[in-house]
Subunit: 303 residues, 2 copies
């Protein structure tokens, strides 16, 4: 009999294959390299990384399946869970850092947890979000529209909640700004009822399938835009913010590092190159200055 | 009457002036720019930043003096302190990221805290450490020798403890390596006895005075070494590790961000440019490969 976890893991592998194929086709030049790793405490990971591509300066599509007796703190501190109950976690993460500063970075993650002896406690989580260095309303609208259409297949109220969670989650308090224009973010998805698991699984499957149509049209729209040193410098500074978020706040990063996953795979989300400079203030009226206002959360579908 | 805190703040300003002068002289081209800031909750900061220098790609010497009613969590979680007792904190931080990959980065910090109504609880803290991209035993030895000579003026057992604390503090568990070759690190320095405060103050003063002789001879020794793209790439990767440490682990960064200090001043320690690449393995026998072994903590004075 196929277990739930086997079913989810197979879904993650299928999605990895599809995403790698689509991203390689979009890049047109570079290929993903596979790197398998084993977790000493139990589990495996299958990272696929593209570096130095024509379109993507760095991209990763990682799948992992880890388990153990000690539930990582990143989980226990958020639910009334016995730390010694044992856990199983599998997920797919993808992050793309394009070379062209006019093309936004993209991140998505879908994950599945089981906790406890009989694994009676389970939930799905996931999300997708867009991080531009330069703001285009039509890009944000396209992303949110695609994600909302997917969410509506699960529950007509779901998008609004997941959109709000995303804005709240991808927020840097010390910068008083969101990481990007958001998207969706959800955790602890555990629908009640006899078909609860199937409903959640079906949604995650459709969510994975929506990533390519949500992101690649935006890449194709922007990738031919000419850029120079000024745009590149701005992109590197914005990537610094991206690194700040991931290293200070991101729960997935924390879970990965705490559960002693593969450090390189966990940190593949970090940008290939990032910079920090003191107190940079964009020129008044410039595209760069416009970004701060652009990143303020709003209803993108009616914007 | 001069209060203890006034005395420490004056010391920090004097040290800032001296460090800025010495670093500018060493750089030979660029100057530090001053940036004053105010903390909404109470306090001020005086950052001085040099960017794009001939020797230093980025350098900062910051002084701050902050106070408030709510003791920041970065302090309370480490001592039995009433969170509402009120606090005063002043300190000097300096970080130098040289341009030439053969020149190590350097960081030092000295700080003073008072907690409670009558400020009866006080302590000093501080440290200094060296982060090379390429290992030279004589550099590590020079740093440790200079710091030990300073520590010995306080207590003959002090260096050994502070050296060990430094190795333990500047450690990245997910990389299983130290940030650099260490130095000294101490916290909660509160000598007993009627002259306890003066003894601690005197040590901190001598510690601040030892920073230039501890670091600049190393800079002058290495700064003429020719480097190319290979060394630069390696330096950028190592700086990625530096950013990881500061954003994930550093308590000073956490304190600064939590106490709502000036974000740009707190993050001036981050490198001007840093990179991440998947699973880089240095060529066997290369200088780059040697670094991992070089970073393993040891007694540098007899090495």
């Amino acid at each position: 009999m196929t277990t739930h976890r086997d079913q989810v893991l197979a879904l993650m592998f299928d999605a990895q294959t599809a995403l790698v194929r689509a991203f390689e086709e979009c890049d047109g030049e570079s290929r993903f390299t596979p790197h398998a790793w084993e977790r000493p405490g139990g589990g495996d990971g299958w990272a696929r990384i593209l570096e130095g591509g024509a379109v993507f300066e760095r991209a990763g599509v990682n799948v992992s399946a880890v388990h153990g007796e000690q539930v990582p703190a990143a989980i226990t501190d958020r639910q009334d869970i016995d730390p010694g109950a044992g856990f199983f976690a599998t997920g797919l993460s993808t992050v793309l850092h394009p070379r062209n500063p006019w093309v936004p970075a993209f991140h998505a993650n879908f994950r599945y947890f089981e906790v406890g002896e009989g694994r009676e406690v389970w939930w799905f989580g996931g999300g997708a979000d867009l991080t531009p260095s330069y703001g285009f309303e039509e890009d944000a609208r396209h992303l949110h529209r695609t994600l909302k259409d997917c969410c509506d297949t699960f529950d007509p109220d779901f998008y609004a909640r997941a959109k709000k969670s995303c804005d709240e989650y991808f927020y840097l308090p010390h910068r008083e700004e969101t990481r990007g224009v958001g998207g969706i973010f959800f955790d602890r998805m555990h629908p009640e009822g006899p078909d609860g698991w199937e409903r959640a699984y079906g949604f995650v499957e459709r969510g994975l399938n929506s990533l390519v149509p949500a992101y690649l049209p935006i890449v194709r729209q922007r990738v031919q835009t000419v850029y120079g040193e000024r745009e590149r410098q701005w992109q590197l500074l914005r990537r610094g913010r991206y690194a700040e978020f991931n290293l200070i706040h991101d729960r997935g990063t924390r879970f990965g590092l705490e559960s002693r996953g593969n450090t390189e795979a966990v940190l593949m989300a970090l940008p290939p190159l990032a910079s920090w400079s003191f107190g940079v203030v964009p020129r008044p009226g410039s595209e760069e200055e416009r970004l701060a206002e652009f990143l303020r959360p709003r209803d993108w579908l009616t914007a």
